[in-house]
């Protein structure tokens, strides 16, 4: 649906790599061109009309984001460069000062690198323990397994809301309830969740949430760090500079601004944030529940057509998102991607930055189709036709 809004979709191309990044509708592109063309001033810097307009546009997006995820206050919304930066800020700015040797952080083997490596570094630096909540036979995270894994040392549970290889939706609300009863913080990597479904941070009761604009029709280089206000107050800025300080005279006398500005040092990605605002308006118009429902129906259609193909091994038959991961028997995933590319079909091959997942799934590399609302049943038919012919795949994969 809404295909006419995407300039690229006028071309003969089938884009199935939405887990990596989404396409951009014309309104988002136009909005950024408008900024660069008509009011390309800095934010928070000038006492003149152009700069005032920048401030207004920029801060309006904070309002849009706040409403989009149902946060309580504008101070809870910090603009970052993306999910990765948000997660790094949470780990380095909030948890590093408070975690002590022997404290435990629980993650899973299906986490993306950006929710693994910052914790690994902290483990090396401070002697915290990073342990894994076991996944079930569908590679799902269950609340029962979580309860069995938590110890008295567990201080943080840091997990994706929807994983990027399996595409399962985690029971975040139940996890938060259990965690908070046991004085455990919950960090949610929302990169694959926020673009695809209605998210209410208050209802879920997450402590921190990170997500990126570019996976939800927005520009690259913009993301959000959401944190409960009382927690964000204690997040030490990891980047210092202009815009975030109130005054400074000497190393002993540095005064930071209030939230959220103190966590947004330097000139921000203004065009990106403004473009992101347009993307949120655009998604709101379609409706997140509508998007989620349509993606699930597309996914089911794809799964039903893939199952009968004998030379296809599906990794995640069951899943509640638009992510389908599979292999063609005896054909390396990259060769499958290369074959499909010959027919202008874009899919991702590899380990999708979830490098420790192989220990659970037993497969290193896979082909991933990740759907979004502008994909169609006809596109899936095209894909299926190409994947059905094993001889053709082998013949044309190089």
């Amino acid at each position: 649906m809404n295909r006419e809004d995407f300039p690229l979709l006028k071309e003969e191309i089938i884009y199935f790599d939405n887990g990596a990044t989404s396409l951009k509708p014309k309104c988002v592109i136009d909005k950024m061109v408008d900024y660069y063309t008509n009011y390309p001033a800095n934010a928070h810097r000038g006492d003149y009309d152009l700069s005032y307009k920048v401030d207004q546009e920029y801060e309006e997006v904070r309002e849009l984001v706040k409403d989009f995820i149902h946060a309580d206050a504008l101070e809870e919304i910090v603009f970052t460069s993306g999910t990765t930066e948000s997660l790094n800020m949470i780990v380095n700015g909030f948890f590093e000062p408070i975690l002590e040797e022997g404290d435990e952080v629980l993650i899973t083997t299906s986490e993306h690198a950006s929710n693994v490596l910052p914790w690994f570094r902290l483990a090396n630096k401070k002697g915290i323990q990073v342990n894994y909540i076991p996944l079930d036979s569908n590679y799902y995270l269950t609340i029962d397994n979580l309860k069995k894994t938590v110890t008295k040392n567990t201080k943080v549970i840091s997990i994706a809301g929807v994983t990027n290889v399996i595409g399962d939706i985690r029971p975040i609300k139940d996890i938060c309830k259990f965690a908070h009863e046991n004085n455990i913080f919950v960090v949610v990597d929302g990169a694959q969740m926020v673009p695809h479904m209605h998210v209410d941070v208050k209802d879920l009761d997450v402590d921190f949430l990170a997500f990126s604009a570019h996976k939800m029709c927005g520009p690259t280089g913009v993301g959000v760090l959401y944190g409960k206000k009382e927690l964000l107050e204690h997040l030490e800025p990891t980047v210092l500079g202009g815009g975030m300080n109130e005054a400074f005279d000497s190393p002993q006398e540095i005064y930071y601004k209030e939230l959220p500005t103190r966590l947004e040092a330097g000139t921000r990605n203004i065009a990106g944030v403004i473009g992101f605002g347009e993307a949120i308006k655009y998604l709101n118009k379609i409706g997140m529940d509508h998007i989620h429902k349509y993606e699930l129906s597309l996914r089911q259609y794809l799964i039903d057509k893939l199952i009968p193909i004998k030379h296809i091994d599906i990794i995640n038959i069951e899943s509640d998102s638009g992510i389908v991961t599979f292999n063609v028997v005896n054909v390396f995933s990259q060769d499958v991607a290369y074959y499909l590319n010959k027919y202008n079909i874009c899919v991702r091959a590899g380990n999708h930055c979830a490098k420790i997942l192989k220990s659970s799934v037993g497969v290193n590399n896979t082909v991933r189709v990740s759907l979004y609302f502008y994909n169609t049943y006809e596109e899936i038919d095209n894909l299926i036709e190409l994947l059905s012919d094993y001889g053709k795949i082998v013949k044309e994969m190089i």
Binding site: S333, Q334, G350, N351, C353, N364, V394, I398
Partner: protein, 138 residues
Amino acid sequence: MEAREIIMEHYMHPVNRKRMDNEEYVQANTRNESCIDNIDLYVKFNNNVIEDITFDGEACAISISSTSIMIKNLIGKTCREALHYIHEFYKMTNEEEYDKSVLGDAYVYEDIVKNGHRKTCANLPLKGLEKAILEHLE
């Protein structure tokens, strides 16, 4: 045989695909930046001669076949000859003038690497061997 058949033959039946834990072999890992192809080379030097090469790992058809063809072509060659081969191969994949007579059937990648992302796949084993040779010569 046409290029495609040579590549497929080496992909389906690669030369010396076996792990070597033998101490006489030095191991060199080589992996693709796009985080997929991952090959371990095992190289046995006898002074300045490459006496044997084997490999193990997971990679695409282009990387595996390129490894196999490289192994077939370079066993028994001196380090200097091998480096010369590697550099001619790079010239080919960079679409520069190169000496076809040095590469033997490795010319089969001449066209394929024009698809940008396949170039790193073809070069992968050569990068690994180059590193192993340079370390050996040091």
